[in-house]
């Protein structure tokens, strides 16, 4: 069996005792095939019984052992130590708690903010079957219907996307990727009857349109769920339901209109169309300074050649929509 000496540099913090967080180093011999969780258990059993972390299933199902490993949020139980070794002489693996959540102790974070947001946003099915008939009547979901929500129902609420999210890092009130994913999942469940209200709840400030589209949630999902696709789909649904009186929706509409009219984006009026007159006033000083540097979008953007062809596409799609 291959064995190697590996250092684990682990975040330590007990808010009741420690003034600031610090790091402890543990050097242990690790065999090939050992997970980060097994290494943490070894350290707790043999070197530092006070080391605190959460874990349960050891099979990537319960979602409780998510931590940041070398800066990236992952499940300790499905991450192989061997995969992280660089082959250089001094192997050190950095283990820290998830980001964007308060630390309770060492690697344990308080996940209540996620739970609170899930509750506030009706992250469960509200079925058509009346309460008294529950359990007596079946509501069958076909394989095809389930396919739409198949990937999203794999979410184990491990919090990795919450920890990686760019918007969460600057706004703790932001609705967050797992809650948007749940919204998508419930809104596309054929047994549910609450989609409109649920969507309305997320199209407010700190909501659906505040996602900065950085794809960190998708990239680091421990269950490989394309979370951004769910967020995309919710934005489409906002348009389908006519919930378009938001800055984000008006911004998107501007792209749609400009491509039809001239083929290119009219950036000069984009802030005005997104934020309205009042909202854009604050941008005037910067716009003036940019103008002085020649960094101003042209007032009149030239139409692309053959714009008629693009308009034909729009007309045909409009006609199709009318028919259906």
């Amino acid at each position: 069996m291959e064995r190697r000496e590996v250092s684990f540099r682990i975040y330590r913090y007990n808010p009741q005792v420690d003034r600031t967080p610090f790091y402890d180093n543990f050097r242990i011999a690790v065999e090939k095939g050992i997970t980060i969780l097994r290494a943490l258990n070894h350290i707790k059993e043999h070197l530092e019984p006070r080391l605190t972390f959460r874990a349960f299933c050891q099979a990537g199902i319960c979602g409780s052992c998510a931590v940041r490993i070398n800066g990236v949020s992952r499940l300790a139980c499905t991450t192989q130590v061997w995969d992280l070794l660089t082959g250089s002489g001094d192997e050190t693996i950095l283990i820290e708690p998830l980001d964007n959540l308060e630390v309770i102790r060492d690697l344990v974070v308080d996940i209540n903010p996620i739970m609170e947001k899930l509750k506030r946003n009706y992250s469960w099915i509200r079925p058509a079957i009346p309460e008294e008939e529950m359990g007596r009547k079946e509501h069958i979901v076909s394989d095809e219907e389930f396919e739409t929500i198949n990937a999203s129902s794999d979410c184990i609420l491990c919090g990795s996307c919450y920890s990686e999210c760019s918007m969460m890092a600057v706004n703790r009130d932001y609705i967050s990727p797992p809650v948007l994913l749940k919204t998508f999942r419930m809104n596309n469940d054929t047994r549910d009857t609450f989609a409109c209200e649920r969507l309305r709840e997320v199209t407010t400030d700190d909501g659906l349109w505040d996602c900065t589209h950085c794809y960190k949630c998708t990239e680091h999902c421990t269950k490989k769920i394309p979370i951004m696709d769910g967020i995309h789909r919710l934005r489409e649904e906002a348009f389908e339901r006519g919930m378009t009186q938001t800055k984000g929706a008006r911004h998107a509409q501007a792209f749609f209109d400009d491509i039809r009219d001239i083929g290119r984006l009219r950036e000069v009026t984009l802030p005005l169309r997104t934020k309205g007159v009042l909202g854009s006033i604050g941008m005037v000083p910067l716009a003036v300074r940019m103008g002085l540097k020649g960094r101003k979008p042209p007032l009149l953007v030239k139409r692309i050649p053959d714009i008629e062809r693009v308009r034909d596409i729009y007309s045909r799609l409009e006609a199709n929509r009318g028919e259906s």
Partner: protein
Amino acid sequence: MQYAYFLSCINESMTKEVDRALNLWKKDLGMELVNLEKGTCCGGSNLDYVSPNHFIIINGRNLALAEQMGLDLATSCSTCLLTLRRAKHILDTSSEKREMVNAHLADEGLYYGGTSDVKHLLWVINEDYGLERLAVKVTAPLRGVRFAPFYGCHILRPSALLGRDDSAAPSSLDRLVEALGGSLVEYGSKNKCCGFHTLLVAEKQSLTMTGNAIEDAVRSGADYIVTPCPLCHTALDAYQDKALAGRRASRNIPVLHLSQMIGLALGYSREALGIDRHMIAV
């Protein structure tokens, strides 16, 4: 080395210097770019919310225009890159979508077959041209200049659609800096979000993201930030003063476009490369 070149809306307006710099030195590398004049705005990850069908047909058309020329499509904007590659992925994996798109393109004599690849300028330089060949062309090595490479999101993530770099530890831009003789600083924000895409929707939060990245680069001791994305450039340069307001950042930091950094190493002047157009003076 011939490519169809996708004209990004922002590079046609606010960040004209990107293409200006590129057009100066492309001939030095024997690179020929045929502007995709009939191409439209890619929809900037917004068009599909309004109508997924418009998104896929409009971008299928952009891709088919490149295909008609028999060329791969190159772009200098990371969001155009991702948007076009997303459309390409959808079309290449769904014959139903391909048929729908082709029905709309027939009138114009266009056809989407999936033969043209979509590449960022950074990939073209690194992979198609090659950094060893580029290093030989350098006439004004960027010796002693410390760069903080800022990758931004849409050239890295989702790696399933992009996949050139390890998105958690990217290195392609780092290698380019080194090939041009420059040195690198280590800082944590290189693969973080600049905040651009929500600047008009959630300005305060977005500017916090922008400010965090700038402050991180300043602390690392970099002389410049360099970025392959004009949207990141706009957040980091044009919004820099606003993003740093009320912070303790010790200084401003100038931000170069990828095409300008290459231009400097190939001996072109700052004026010619449009560096004087930046909001943060170099």
